[in-house]
């Protein structure tokens, strides 16, 4: 048996599995998006762009997703960066690993259970009742955009901290000393040395969080109470409640197209940023 035949035999089961369980189903979604809804729900073969023309009917879902996914990513970044910096640069080696593991542990427990905790905290008997005591009355937190944003940041914070930590940890700490020895202020050391050197970690973290947020269903379902819904919630509704497969497929295809476009643009932007860094003298 030649080597190349053996390599193919090794890869064949996984390849076949991916073809049947990924490529085929995604192709079906693509084909169905040009079809029509059967009167009793389901799909009737057709070739029409009607479903795509109807997409504005679900405009709110797309608007919420495209507003809260980038906003949630940004909020997670702003909270995660100082923590990652503290862990990677300012913490002794003895405590580093333990503190990092403590950030990651919540991520290993089910996001369903962790989001559920916020129903308590933001619900009527949680923070609003505490605010009541100090005189702020009738504060509604649950089932608002704010609640969904809190849930998002809470759910995906570990995923943002980890890559930034890795990039900052690799950074040679002597560079920071050199920069301050040469008279740079802490702020310019940060903006000229630390930030550019951690751009790859920021890019990875933002991308991971953003991709997961685009398809989010659970957090808006639990904390948005049907008022703040994402494309994911629209998809559940279309496939499991109204059983409109053709229209649901068009929504799914649109979601994928938006993701591909934003991710591609984003990658271009990041690679341009890092090219600029390579051109910088002394780096």
């Amino acid at each position: 048996m030649t080597q190349s035949v053996r390599n193919w035999l090794l890869a064949a089961p996984a390849g076949a599995w991916l073809l049947v369980m990924l490529v085929l189903p995604l192709s079906v979604v693509f084909v169905f998006s040009f079809g029509e809804r059967a009167p009793s729900g389901g799909y009737v073969p057709a070739f029409t762009f009607e479903q795509y023309a109807n997409l504005p009917a679900r405009f709110t879902a797309f608007k919420n997703t495209l507003l809260l996914a980038p906003l949630g990513t940004l909020a997670a970044l702003l909270i995660a960066y100082p923590l990652a910096y503290q862990l990677a640069v300012r913490t002794s080696n003895k405590w580093k690993t333990l503190l990092l593991v403590l950030v990651i542990v919540p991520f290993w427990t089910s996001i369903l259970i962790r989001s559920y905790a916020w129903i308590f905290i933001l619900g009527g008997r949680g923070i609003p009742s505490l605010l009541d005591v100090i005189g702020i009355e009738d504060m509604r937190l649950i089932n608002t955009q704010f609640a969904v944003l809190v849930g998002i940041v809470y759910g995906y914070l570990p995923l943002m901290v980890f890559p930034i930590y890795v990039s900052l940890d690799r950074l040679d700490k002597r560079l920071l000393e050199a920069s301050s020895d040469l008279g740079a202020s802490p702020l310019s050391t940060f903006s000229k040395v630390t930030l550019p050197m951690s751009i790859s970690g920021i890019a990875t973290g933002c991308m991971l969080v953003f991709i997961l947020l685009m398809g989010e269903f659970l957090i808006p379902a639990l904390l948005g109470g049907g008022k703040v819904f994402f494309v994911g919630n629209a998809l559940v509704d279309l496939f499991l409640q109204s059983r409109n497969w053709a229209y649901g497929s068009a929504v799914a295809v649109m979601l994928i197209i938006i993701m591909l476009v934003t991710v591609t643009v984003y990658m271009r932007l990041i690679s341009r940023l890092s090219v600029q860094r390579d051109d910088a003298p002394l780096m």
């Binding site: 089961p13 073809l19 189903p25 995604l26 300012r90 259970i113 905790a117 308590f120 499991l240 993701m259």
Partner: protein
Amino acid sequence: MRIYAICVYVFLYTPIAIIALFSFSAGRSASQFEGFSTQWYGRALSNPFVMDALGNSLFVALVSASLASVLGTLAAVGLQGIRGPARALFDAIIYIAVMIPGIVIGIATLIALVTIFDVVNPWLATIWSTSEKPIRLSMGMGSLIAAHTMFTMALVIIIVRARLSGIEGALSEASADLYATPFGTFSQITLPLIAPAILAGFLLSFTFSFDDFIIAFFVAGSETTLPIYIFSSIRRGITPEVNAIGTMVMVASLILLVIAQLILRRSTKS
């Protein structure tokens, strides 16, 4: 700065602590603490629906993580020696598998399999028309395992390949020069070196499958997994029973994480 870090840890752990605290509440209300009791643990553990869902979740996670580890490792090893457009296509598909949102994987698998089953089932019925119980394909544990295996297998391929690219080459050439068979090289050189990556892939796969709600929601048919049970009981109204289940799941995954960490540390030392 240090105070900031402490605040973030408080933010990360308060919700978890609250879940654990209310699981010990004696009352029926999940938002008011009415005395200490472990009754909700007893109720959860003696609830046949919970135990059924737990059993399903463990079974699906174990089978799909095992399949994903074996098939994913084989593919990662095979792909090392494959070049050209076929390899590029394979890589692109793996990339798509991890990029596509779980919810899209869920709906795509649902409509594809239901459509296929609708075509195949009448066929099967005519073939087995003589037997008393004709075989009928439907959504259930099988389709759920197949969907989870697809996604976690892609994860395993990525993890194992990263490890392989660090070691392959000189070592396996040396082994071949010393007249080891390809299988001997694999089992004595490559496999021990990539074992930690395979274990990491298995654990990641197991955790993913055990925690997954969204794919299971579409693909599990009438079967209930633990996340599906928890989601529907939250929808029905919250009782401390959900807190008790959540706390147990969290403690169990923590123990699993510690064990994995110990195994990984030992294997990297040796």
